[in-house]
């Protein structure tokens, strides 16, 4: 008997250790990210880093403001495209899709989520960039808009699947109530179903937003990587993540440049962490409210 308890306790201990792994890893990441990144601030002030307009590693000038603005623009652009499309698609799947269409669209979305970002990038580099250049009369198609388009496609699956869950869990009696008032399908969807599901939909959008901020490979290939402050979606730009990928390959290890690139990584890291907590809070609240 004692032996069994011993074994059970050992295993319990090991499993407890395992269960804290996610937490421990998160902590190690924070430590190493900040250890390498914060060294920059012995040289550059935080304000100069966040709001400086110039990024010239050769002269040890590190102003990340253009990268921050690019990141915001790219993300907004991607949301502008993917939110309406994603919510519509989720509504379609739950509310009006016949069975056969659902069985076609669902795997398509899963697959879309599974395609490696590098392949999205190569596709966008060759197709999207070229398609944009002529109609907008641009000098180059490598713009924030191009990155937004490809990011929109990449975050669609997240927005759709979370919105879909949320719309699916809107109680049937809401729909019946609306239909019984003589509402059409669309009135029921737009005035009752979607507003009732809005928490989950917002959570999905927030998660998608986080993904867009953090995505690298697809963006770096199509955004042009221009260090100038972008003023519109049709300008080229350079996001925080694309700057890291672009320059880390040749940054001398342990140099200020190297530290600055880690600093660039800290920004999306923190933003995404906050967004993820926000969305999980929204999702849990939604669940408790319907139950």
């Amino acid at each position: 008997m004692g032996k069994r308890l011993n074994l059970e306790n050992t295993i319990r201990g090991i499993l407890l250790l395992f269960s804290t792994a996610a937490l421990v890893i998160l902590a190690i990441i924070v430590v190493f990210l900040f250890k390498e990144g914060l060294m920059l601030f012995q040289h550059t002030s935080v304000t100069d880093f966040l709001f400086g307009h110039k990024w010239i590693p050769a002269e040890n000038i590190y102003g990340a403001f253009p990268f921050i603005v690019s990141t915001i623009l790219v993300t907004l652009g991607a949301l502008l495209i993917s939110v309406p499309l994603g919510i519509s698609c989720a509504v379609f799947l739950v509310e009006i899709s016949p069975r056969w269409a659902r069985e076609l669209v669902r795997p398509a979305i899963e697959l879309l989520a599974g395609i490696p970002s590098i392949i999205y990038g190569v596709f966008a580099l060759i197709i999207v960039v070229d398609v944009l250049r002529v109609p907008f009369n641009l000098a180059t198609g490598e713009t924030i808009l191009a990155a937004s388009i490809i990011l929109a496609i990449m975050i669609l699956p997240i927005i759709i699947s979370i919105s879909q869950d949320s719309i699916d869990s809107v109680p049937r009696i809401y729909r019946e109530g609306s239909y019984a008032m003589g509402a059409t399908d669309w009135q029921t969807i737009s005035k009752v179903v979607v507003p009732s599901a809005r928490r989950g939909i917002i959570a999905g959008v927030i998660l998608g937003c986080g993904r867009a901020i953090g995505e690298t490979m697809a963006v770096v290939l199509v955004i042009g990587n221009v260090e100038k402050l972008p003023l519109s979606l049709l300008d080229s730009g350079e996001t925080l993540t694309s700057a890291i990928l672009l320059e880390m390959g040749e940054a001398v290890i342990g140099s200020l440049h190297y530290n600055a690139l880690f600093c660039l990584g800290i920004i999306p890291f923190l933003i995404v962490l906050v967004l993820s907590m926000l969305s999980s809070r929204l999702i849990t609240k939604r669940v408790s409210r319907f139950e």
Binding site: K54, R133, T140, G224, E227
Partner: protein, 271 residues
């Protein structure tokens, strides 16, 4: 019950996988080379051929850029550093023992889209174009096209070579598209008639157009003689005079056989 069997198999696979790496002898590679991505094709090609003759030798090739290569060889983390530029004074001071070995001649060539009729630019014109003072090809006798600059990324050895040779302390325009590799620059230039950029000679092909500078075309002769503005040597860097496998490998690259590989990769041999 079959599910339990499945589970066992899965577990077993995990264990096997975990140890498969360790069971093999985990001796580090015999020869590790790191550094410039420009030099990398030569090194990779050399390893490919050299490795066939020396199947027991393990060679690792890593990128990282010239600066990292030099730094790592100085620290002893790698055996050979690859660099597309000479050592800076700072690097010399830090590691006085570093020895450079020229293995090939490279040249940055000013490149345009094939449909661009411009054949020649002066050094001053190139400086002004890359500084963003000239923004349309018609200002240098070309067609009415807005100029899109395509350059290498911050920190790149190729970029600093170009800026040292051409820009004399003028900053490159911040509207330039930055690309992490020569191939990406070529791809961008080939796909857009508004572009101008610089490419290592090994990357010139018929999708882009190489032009002359100050009337001197980028022929092999001119480059080897150093007359085309942007020629430079490529180096392997060792800590002290090379010995053993390191020495043999560098000798291989400098041999006739090795220099043929250099030419095959589009660079210009030392001979």
């Amino acid at each position: 019950m079959s599910k339990i069997i499945w589970l066992r198999i899965l577990f077993l696979l995990c264990v096997i996988a975990l140890f498969s790496g360790c069971v093999e002898d985990n001796k580090e590679e015999g020869l590790v080379i790191a550094g410039s991505t420009t030099v990398q094709p030569i090194v990779v090609k050399a390893v490919e051929v050299y490795g066939k003759n020396n199947p027991d030798l393990r060679i690792g090739v890593q990128g990282g850029g010239s600066g990292t290569g030099i730094r790592m060889v100085g620290k002893g983390s790698v055996d050979i550093g690859a660099s597309s530029r000479e050592l800076s004074t700072e690097e010399h001071l830090k590691n006085p023992g570093l020895v450079t070995h020229s293995i090939a001649i490279d040249c940055l060539i000013i490149t345009l889209h094939p449909t661009n009729p411009i054949e020649d630019l002066s050094t001053q014109q190139i400086t002004d174009i890359f500084a963003g003072k000239i923004t349309n090809f018609k200002e240098v006798g070309g067609p009415d096209r807005r100029i899109v600059l395509v350059i290498r990324e911050d920190g790149s050895g190729t970029r600093s070579t170009f800026e040292n040779m051409v820009m004399n302390n003028t900053e490159v325009s911040d509207t330039a598209l930055q690309k992490p590799a020569n191939g990406a620059i070529r791809f961008t230039i080939a796909g857009n008639e508004n572009t101008i950029g610089y490419l290592g000679i090994g990357y010139i092909d018929d999708t882009v157009k190489a032009i002359s500078i100050n009337g001197i075309p980028p022929s092999k002769e001119n480059i080897r003689k150093g007359e085309y503005l942007l020629s430079r040597e490529l180096y392997l860097v060792t800590d002290g005079e090379p010995t053993g496998e390191t020495k043999k490998f560098i000798e291989f690259i400098l041999s006739d056989e090795g220099q043929i590989l250099v030419e095959e990769e589009g660079f210009i041999s030392m001979r």
